[in-house]
Amino acid sequence: MARDWREIFIIDGDGPALAEEAAEPEKRMGRFRRLRESLRKTRQALQTEIQATLFEDLSEETWERLEEALIYADVGASTTAKVVAQLEQEAAEHKLTGGQELSDRLVELLAEIARTGTDTIDLRPAPTVILVAGVNGTGKTTTLGKLAWHLSRELNRRVMLAAGDTFRAAAVEQLEVWAERAGVGFVRGELGADSAAVAFEAITAARREQADVVLIDTAGRLHTQDNLMAELAKVRRVIDKQIPGAPHETLLTVDATTGQNGLRQAKLFSEAVDVSGIVLTKLDGTAKGGIALAIASELGIPVKLIGVGEKLEDLRPFDAEEFARALVGVS
C-alpha cells in the first residue's frame, strides 16, 4: 500500500507515463520488495521494544516502556508525552482493551501526526522550480541526483540540475556525476559565481530548453549561521523575482539520525525560506527518524520523500502509515 510516485507528484493528464507504469507491474513489485527489505534490515537491527511491550496487559509499565521506545526513536519528549497521554486516556475510557488494539491505535495516531500539511509536490508549473536546502552532510546532493532520476524515468519529466553549492570543494563535480548517472541536464556557474546567480542561470536555461523541472542544489549550512541563512533567503528571492511564486517547492533534507536539534533546523530554515516539505534521509540505518514526527507535530511541515540508500533508486515517496508502522516495529 506504499505510495506511488504518481500519487505524490501532480502532473497534467494521463500521458505516456501511466501506460508505462501499467506495463511494468513486475518492475514495480521488485522495487517495493527492495524497499521492504531495506526497512526490515533497519527494524531487525534495533530491538523492537515497542512491539514486545504492546502485547502485554495495559499496565503502568506499558506506558513507561512505550514512552521509552518513542524517545528512543527520537520522537522527542513533547510529542511522546502527547501521544502517550492520548492513548492512556483512551485506555482509561475503555476504548482500548488489549495489546493489539493499542498497537493499531498507536500506529494510527503516529500516522495522523505525520500526515500534516500538503503531502504532494505539484509539477504543473512550467518549469517547476525545486530548491533543496539543509545542514551539512544531510544528503542534499545525493537526494537531488536520485530525484532527478526518478522524475526523468518514472514521470518522463525533462530535468535540469543546478549546481548551487558554490562553496564546498568539489561540490559542483559531485553533482555533475549525479547528473550524468541520472541522464539529466546540468548547469554550473562561472568560477566564483554565487549561488543566486547559478539559480538564475539554471532557470533561464530551463526556459530556453523547455525543461519541466529545475532542481537547485545549495551549500550545506548550519541554521545558526545567520549570514548563510540570509544568503539562502536571497537565493529564494532571486528565484521568486524570476518566476513569481517560485520556488514551487522548497525541500529541507533532514538526516534520520538527527536528534532534537532537527526541530531547530526545521524552524530556522523555514524562517529563511518557507520550507514546504522534508526529505528524511538515511533511513536505511538504524535510526527511526522520529524527529520527523516532532517536526510534523510542532511545525506542521510534512515529510514528502525518504532516502533509503546511496543508489539512484533509493528514494521513495513518504507514506505516513508505513513510517508509523516502522517506528512501532510492526510489519
Binding site: A77, T257, T258, Q260
Partner: protein, 444 residues
C-alpha cells in the same frame, strides 16, 4: 538555556529552603527535570537512566546545609557528575614509536570525515609534524577531488588513485608511501558507511588489517540523536576505535551524543570540529561539553558565586543578629532542625573559624528535639523573639499548647538565654565550651 534547567530546578526545589533538607521527593522532582533536559539534549535514554540514578544517590547523601539554593546544589552535583563522565582531562592522539603514525578515519555518511581529515592534518602540521592524507573514499562522487582540494589548501601531500582501485589497496599503498617518504603522520580518509552494512564494515576491518593504524577515530555528528549509541557500539565491535571526533559543534545541537558515546564505549572524545573553516578544529574539553549538554553555559561560575555570596550573607546576617541580640527562638529552631538532620551546627557556628571541631560528635535526642520544637511552636512570634520577657501565664499557655509542662518551658528559655550569651561572646571573639552547651540544650 541555563535559565531553563537552572530555573526549573530552583522552582522545583523552591520550598526546600524553609525545611532545610532535601527529601527523596524533592530529589525525584529534580531528577525529572534533569532527565527531561538530558533527553532534550539527545543523551541516550539508557545513559540518562543510569546517570540520574547515580546523581540521585549523590544528592540524597549530600549536605545541603549552608547552601542558599538547593536547586543550585543539585545542579552542581549534576554538572560534576557529567564532567567526570565526559572524561575529566582531555585525551590525546597516540603517536607511533616509529613513524609514520597512521590515523584511520571512520564514520557514517555525512558525519564530516573528509573535512576532519584535512583539519587534523592542518593541526598536526602546525604543531611540527610532516603530514600526508590518503583518499580511500572511492564511492562518493567527487570525494577524491574534495580531499585533493582540501589537502592543497592545507599544504599537505595527498595520496590517491582515483576511484579505480579498492580502498584496501589504496590504503596499503599510501601507508608504504608515507613510510618511504618519511612522513610523521598519515591520515586515511574512508567513505561513509552504515554500521549495519556488513560488506562495508568488513571492508573497514580489511583496511585496518592492511595498514595497522596507530589510531582509529570515529567521527560523530554533534546533532545525532538516540542512534549515536548504536553506531558507536557497532563501530566499536567491528574495529575498536580509539577516540572520537565530534563534528559540527558550531551548531546549536546540545550534543548529548557525545555523552552517550563516551558513556557506552568508554572511548575519549579527542577533537571538536567547530566550523567549516579548516582552522576551526581543537582539542576537546570535557567540562565545556558537560555544560553545553546541560544547556547551562557558564553554570559553574554562577554556582560558585552564589555559594560565595551565601556564605558572606549568612555570616553577615548572623553577626548582625548576634550583635543586636536579635537571634531568636525561630533561628534557634532552624539550627536545631539542622542539627537533627546533619549533626553539629556546621553552617552557623562552623563559619566562625576554628569552632567546627568543638561540635563534632554532639548528637541530639530525637524525642527531646520534638519536645523543644513543640514548645517553640506554641509560642507567638514575639515570644520567640524575646523569650526573656515571657511571664508565668504565658509559660502555662505554652506548656499546655505543647503538651509539656511549665518546668520544661522554663528550662528551654534558660538554656536558650545561656546560648545567646555565649554567642554574643563568641561574636566578640571569646571561645566558650559550646559542645557542653549544645549537649545541655539538647539534653534534659
Amino acid at each position: 538555556m541555563f535559565d531553563n534547567l537552572g530555573e526549573k530546578l530552583q522552582a522545583t526545589l523552591a520550598d526546600v529552603r524553609g525545611r532545610g533538607t532535601l527529601t527523596e521527593d524533592d530529589i525525584n522532582a529534580a531528577m525529572r527535570e534533569i532527565r527531561l533536559a538530558l533527553l532534550e539534549a539527545d543523551v541516550n535514554f539508557k545513559v540518562v537512566r543510569s546517570f540520574t540514578a547515580s546523581v540521585k544517590e549523590k544528592a540524597l547523601g549530600a549536605d545541603i546545609i549552608g547552601q542558599l539554593n538547593p536547586g543550585q546544589q543539585v545542579v552542581k552535583i549534576v554538572s560534576d557528575e557529567l564532567t567526570a563522565l565526559m572524561g575529566g582531562a582531555a585525551g590525546d592522539l597516540a603517536f607511533a614509536p616509529r613513524p609514520p603514525t597512521i590515523v584511520l578515519m571512520a564514520g557514517l555518511q555525512g558525519s564530516g570525515k573528509t573535512t576532519a581529515t584535512a583539519k587534523l592534518a592542518r593541526l598536526l602540521k602546525s604543531e611540527g609534524s610532516s603530514v600526508a592524507v590518503a583518499a580511500c573514499d572511492v564511492y562518493r562522487p567527487a570525494a577524491v577531488e574534495q580531499l585533493v582540494k582540501l589537502a592543497g589548501q592545507v599544504g599537505v601531500d595527498v595520496y590517491e588513485q582515483g576511484t579505480g582501485a579498492s580502498p584496501v589497496k589504496i590504503a596499503a599503498w599510501a601507508a608504504d608511501r608515507a613510510r618511504t617518504e618519511g612522513k610523521d603522520v598519515l591520515i586515511v580518509d574512508t567513505s561513509g558507511r552504515l554500521h549495519v552494512d556488513q560488506e562495508l564494515m568488513a571492508e573497514l576491518v580489511d583496511i585496518r588489517k592492511a595498514i595497522r593504524p596507530t589510531d582509529i577515530l570515529l567521527v560523530v555528528d554533534a546533532m545525532t540523536g538516540q542512534d549515536a549509541v548504536n553506531v558507536a557500539e557497532e563501530f566499536g565491535r567491528a574495529v575498536d576505535f580509539d577516540g572520537v571526533i565530534m563534528s559540527k559543534l558550531d551548531g546549536d545541537a546540545r550534543g548529548g551524543a557525545a555523552l552517550s558515546v563516551k558513556a557506552v564505549t568508554g572511548k575519549p572524545i579527542l577533537y571538536a570540529s567547530t566550523g567549516e573553516k579548516l582552522d576551526q578544529f581543537e582539542r576537546f574539553h570535557p567540562d565545556r561539553m558537560a555544560q553545553r549538554i546541560l544547556g547551562m553555559g557558564d553554570v559553574m561560575s554562577l554556582i560558585e558565586r552564589a555559594e560565595a555570596n551565601f556564605d558572606e550573607r549568612q555570616a553577615a546576617e548572623l553577626e548582625r543578629k548576634l550583635r543586636k541580640q536579635e537571634f531568636g527562638l525561630d533561628d534557634f529552631l532552624d539550627q536545631m532542625r539542622q542539627i537533627r538532620r546533619m549533626g553539629p551546627l556546621q553552617s552557623l557556628l562552623g563559619m566562625i573559624p576554628g569552632l567546627g571541631k568543638e561540635l563534632r560528635g554532639v548528637k541530639l535526642d530525637e524525642r527531646e528535639f520534638d519536645r523543644l520544637q513543640a514548645i517553640i511552636l506554641s509560642m507567638t512570634p514575639e515570644e520567640r523573639r524575646h523569650p526573656e520577657l515571657i511571664k508565668g501565664s504565658q509559660r502555662l499557655r505554652i506548656a499546655k499548647g505543647s503538651g509539656t509542662n511549665v518546668q520544661a518551658v522554663k528550662q528551654l528559655i534558660k538554656q536558650f538565654e545561656q546560648m545567646r550569651k555565649v554567642m554574643r561572646q563568641v561574636s566578640q571573639g571569646r571561645m566558650p565550651d559550646l559542645g557542653a552547651l549544645m549537649r545541655q540544650a539538647g539534653g534534659r
